[in-house]
């Protein structure tokens, strides 16, 4: 049995799915207005003036309900009670955000925030290897890599957190002197790398690394 317009639910009136986003709702609303407004060609002669007014007021109501999150939730639960909507179907999907290229967050075991992470700080404090490396006179990229593997941190995680390009991080770790960025950038990159791994004191370690690199490139 085809339903009359007034019997449709708000989603059907606007021709959208129950999980439509606010953007889609706004879009559907303006499309519906275009269809039903007086003088629209597509609905010409199909409705009397009263019918048209009624339809337009229904559309207005549908839009103002669905675009308001609270009103929409209340309306959804009404629909669920009436059996028109499956529970859980109606929730609008989370607004999409840009996804990181090295999005490794899907694995729950991986710590996402490194800087200032207490567990990481503890590890640094307790590990003797790291102490040994940090007390060296010279610190090169290979040493940094050793620390990183000791701490069980992926290079992608550092790239994601520091926003330093991953190929720069690799050339730092591999001591690829020719491929390293200019010293003025390198200094900053290494500092954020160190900060990311909770190694202290950042400024002093960074300076030591820069000296080591200067000596290596001078050779």
């Amino acid at each position: 049995m085809p339903k009359s317009f007034a019997q449709l639910n708000y989603y059907e009136m606007l021709d959208i799915k129950p999980d439509a986003t606010a953007f889609e709702i706004r879009h559907a609303y303006s499309a519906a207005l275009q269809l039903y407004q007086p003088g629209s060609l597509a609905s010409y002669s199909l409705f009397s003036g009263d019918e048209r007014r009624e339809i337009l007021s229904l559309i207005e109501k549908a839009y103002s309900t669905l675009i308001n999150d609270q009103a929409r939730k209340a309306y959804n639960s009404e629909l669920v009670l009436a059996g028109e909507l499956d529970a859980g179907m109606e929730a609008a999907p989370a607004v999409k955000k840009p996804v990181s290229i090295f999005d490794i967050n899907h694995s729950a075991a991986i710590v996402t925030v490194l800087t200032g992470n207490e567990a990481l700080k503890n590890k640094v404090r307790q590990s003797e290897d790291i102490h040994a490396i940090l007390s060296q006179k010279e610190i090169c990229g290979a040493d940094l890599k050793k620390i990183r593997t000791e701490l069980d941190v992926l290079i992608e995680q550092i790239a994601q957190e520091t926003k330093v390009r991953i190929d720069h991080l690799r050339s730092i770790e591999e001591d690829h002197v020719a491929r390293l960025p200019a010293p003025v950038f390198l200094k900053g990159f290494v500092k954020s790398y160190l900060k990311c791994l909770c190694l202290e004191p950042v400024d002093e370690l960074g300076a030591r690394y820069m000296d080591t690199v200067a000596r290596m490139s001078g050779k």
């Binding site: 049995m1 060609l41 597509a42 609905s43 010409y44 002669s45």
Partner: protein
């Protein structure tokens, strides 16, 4: 048995005959043995459009019983695979085809041995037009993007469905039904098929199911003709959507055909537009629409209800 396509559109001048001739031509080109019948009774001019200005025989010979079989009124056209039953030289009272003649014609059309039969129907919603439309599950509505034309195509679509509903009931039952619809939905709603179906579903569930089955089997298509550059290209889809939502009927949008002054030139020169101006936007639109329509298939309806 032939696949019959009635082509109608409510308003005059929307390009029914022109599209019939073009679609016929395209179907013939695609290798289908195609027959066009000019059923715009009393205002026939399909023969002029397909290059047969003076056909020797025509539809009225069949009505006047000069020939006994409809096949004998067919004339060749200059094109391979394309044939015509013309309406030229009709008698002046042909527009009011009596009921028996109409049934005889419908039966004869259904028996024709062609791949495709295109019926060029006249403007308006006379019973002749409606009944010829109901011969097939296929059907093409043509409208232009103008309020007058849209209004008439809505009217035609409603009338066709209404006519089909009417066949289900005898006169007294139908009167009662009409009264009931008016009482329930207010005055004037008896002219709305959706209101009528609503009542039928309650009063005659059996008939409702049968009608619903039949309506859902219809493969009617809509073509928007004479679309100018600044016109809304989505109009066809919107109209189909409106029909589905508010009349409860399903019609498919077949495509837009662009407006072109060259159509007028081609008709004046009495040459085929597709041949004279094959590289215009209009011609490529026609080919696209034609291809889609030639491939779509519905069933022939039997006349169990007539």
């Amino acid at each position: 048995m032939a696949l019959v396509w009635p082509i109608g559109g409510g308003k005059g001048g929307s390009g029914k005959s022109f599209l019939t001739s073009s679609l016929g031509r395209l179907a013939a080109e695609l290798g289908k043995k195609t027959l066009m019948i000019d059923l715009d009774l009393g205002a026939a001019n399909l023969h002029t459009l397909v290059g047969v200005p003076c056909p020797q025989k025509g539809f009225s010979d069949f009505i006047r019983k000069k020939v006994s079989r409809l096949e004998d009124t067919i004339v060749d056209t200059p094109f391979k695979n394309l044939f015509l039953i013309s309406g030229a030289h009709d008698n002046f009272d042909i527009a009011n085809l009596p009921y028996e003649q109409k049934i005889k014609t419908l039966r004869a059309i259904a028996k024709l041995d062609y791949d495709r039969v295109l019926l060029d129907l006249g403007a308006g919603t006379s019973f002749n037009t409606l009944d010829f439309f109901l011969i097939s599950q296929n059907g093409i509505f043509i409208t232009t993007p103008e309020p007058t034309s849209v209004e008439n195509v809505y009217r035609l679509i409603r009338s066709i469905y209404f006519r089909r509903i009417r066949y289900c009931f005898n006169t007294t039952d139908f009167k009662i039904l009409e009264g009931e619809v008016d009482r329930r939905f207010g005055d004037g709603s008896a002219s709305k098929p959706d209101c009528m179906m609503n009542i039928i579903s309650e009063a005659y569930p059996e008939k409702y199911r049968q009608l619903q089955n039949e309506f859902s089997a219809f493969r009617f298509q809509l073509i928007i003709n004479q679309v100018r550059k600044h016109d809304n290209a989505a109009l066809g889809l919107q109209i189909c959507r409106m029909i589905e939502k508010h009349l409860g009927l399903c019609i498919e949008f077949a495509g837009n055909v662009a407006y072109d002054d060259h159509v007028h030139d081609a008709i004046c020169q009495q040459v085929f537009f597709l041949e004279r101006y094959p590289y215009t936007k209009t011609a490529s639109d026609l080919r696209a629409v034609g291809r889609q329509i030639v491939q779509s298939t519905g069933k022939q309806l039997m006349f169990h209800y007539m």
